[in-house]
């Protein structure tokens, strides 16, 4: 009995690799590996009270308008998209020098208003430029104060530094309540 059992031939495992490859290819094809990236936005909560922006002095607000033809109007004058970032940086870092721009960086507000007919692509581009302006001024400030760019500050160890930078340049990007002016 015992001797016969020992005679069982070894199972051929040569095709095991083929089966495993088949499974591997199946998983490669059906899965996605892309890391989702996007522009982060914090929407304002809905409140019943009327907005209190009438209190804001006009010079603190940088008004950015995008119309249905994807044209940009900043502070009442047309501007091209590639100059929007610099304009916003000027506004945020003005510190009272230019009488038409903000008095302090903590009070500076950027107001974005778009039309229902504005294309999403244009809107994302404008939003991107405004975000870039905030990131740039924060980077410069962190570099000047701590010798490190804002992105490189460690959220755990440099908590106070991050707070300080955020306090100096608070992200006050307000979006107007939707209105319909042009056609979609």
């Amino acid at each position: 009995m015992g001797s016969r059992r020992r005679d069982i031939p070894e199972i051929n495992a040569g095709s095991m690799a083929d089966i495993a490859f088949l499974l591997l290819v199946f998983f490669l094809v059906t899965t996605t590996m892309d890391i989702p990236t996007g522009l982060q936005v914090a929407l304002p909560p809905i409140s019943e009270e009327p907005p209190e922006d009438s209190k804001q002095k006009k010079r603190e607000v940088l008004e950015v308008l995008v119309n249905a033809a994807d044209q940009l109007l900043v502070e009442g004058s047309p501007l091209t998209i590639d100059r929007l970032q610099q304009k916003t940086i000027d506004h945020l870092t003005n510190e009272g020098k230019d009488p038409t721009l903000s008095t302090t960086s903590t009070a500076a507000i950027v107001s974005l208003k778009n039309d229902r007919g504005t294309s999403y692509d244009m809107y994302v581009q404008v939003y991107n430029e405004l975000t870039a302006a905030y990131n740039r001024v924060r980077d410069d400030y962190a570099m000047q104060e701590y010798g490190k760019s804002y992105k490189d500050l460690d959220p755990q160890r440099d908590k106070d530094k991050i707070k300080e930078v955020k306090k100096k340049y608070p992200r006050k990007l307000s979006e107007a309540e939707p209105v319909s002016i042009g056609s979609e």
Binding site: A13, T32, G38, L39, L43, G117, S119, D121, P178
Partner: protein
């Protein structure tokens, strides 16, 4: 030198491939763990806009997806439509969808839920604004305009 030529020309023994399945299985498990099944069938075209200031999103389990774009199938017209999960929807369905999806989650996780808005470049802001209003109504305030990273040249 002759020493090295001694075995030349002889048939080499077969390479032992018994470890090959192990290696392949290892790869297989890596892909099974590291990736996610493509679970949504796209019904609308979403050619994402590009941006330079994009940030990586949180864990995939903390995302709601909303797709907006012109239908891939021309039978459904060319005007932008909203897709939730696998089906076409309207802007009015968003509130219910987000509430339903939040209900499935742990209560502690709900404030961290981000809505990933995947909209086509050509879509007009009207529909996007409506979606934003709907999200505000259900207090889903974290939104992400999904965009691909622009390579600066």
């Amino acid at each position: 030198m002759a020493k090295f030529k001694k075995d030349g020309g002889r048939a080499t023994p077969a390479i032992n491939t018994s470890a090959l399945p192990d290696i392949v299985f290892m790869l297989l498990f890596f892909f099974m763990v590291a990736t996610k099944m493509r679970d949504k069938e796209m019904k609308v075209k979403t050619q994402l806009p590009t941006a330079t200031e994009v940030e990586k999103l949180e864990k995939k389990s903390r995302l709601h997806y909303i797709f907006v774009g012109p239908p891939l199938n021309p039978e459904f017209g060319t005007s932008p439509r909203v897709q939730l999960d696998d089906a076409f929807a309207t802007v009015d369905d968003i509130q219910q969808y987000i509430t339903l999806k939040n209900g499935e989650k742990d209560e502690k996780e709900v404030p961290f839920m981000t809505t990933s808005l995947k909209a086509d470049k050509t879509v007009k802001m009207g529909i996007i604004t409506d979606i934003k209003q709907e999200l505000r109504q259900v207090n889903a305030l974290k939104l992400s305009y999904t965009a691909s990273k622009e390579v600066k040249d």
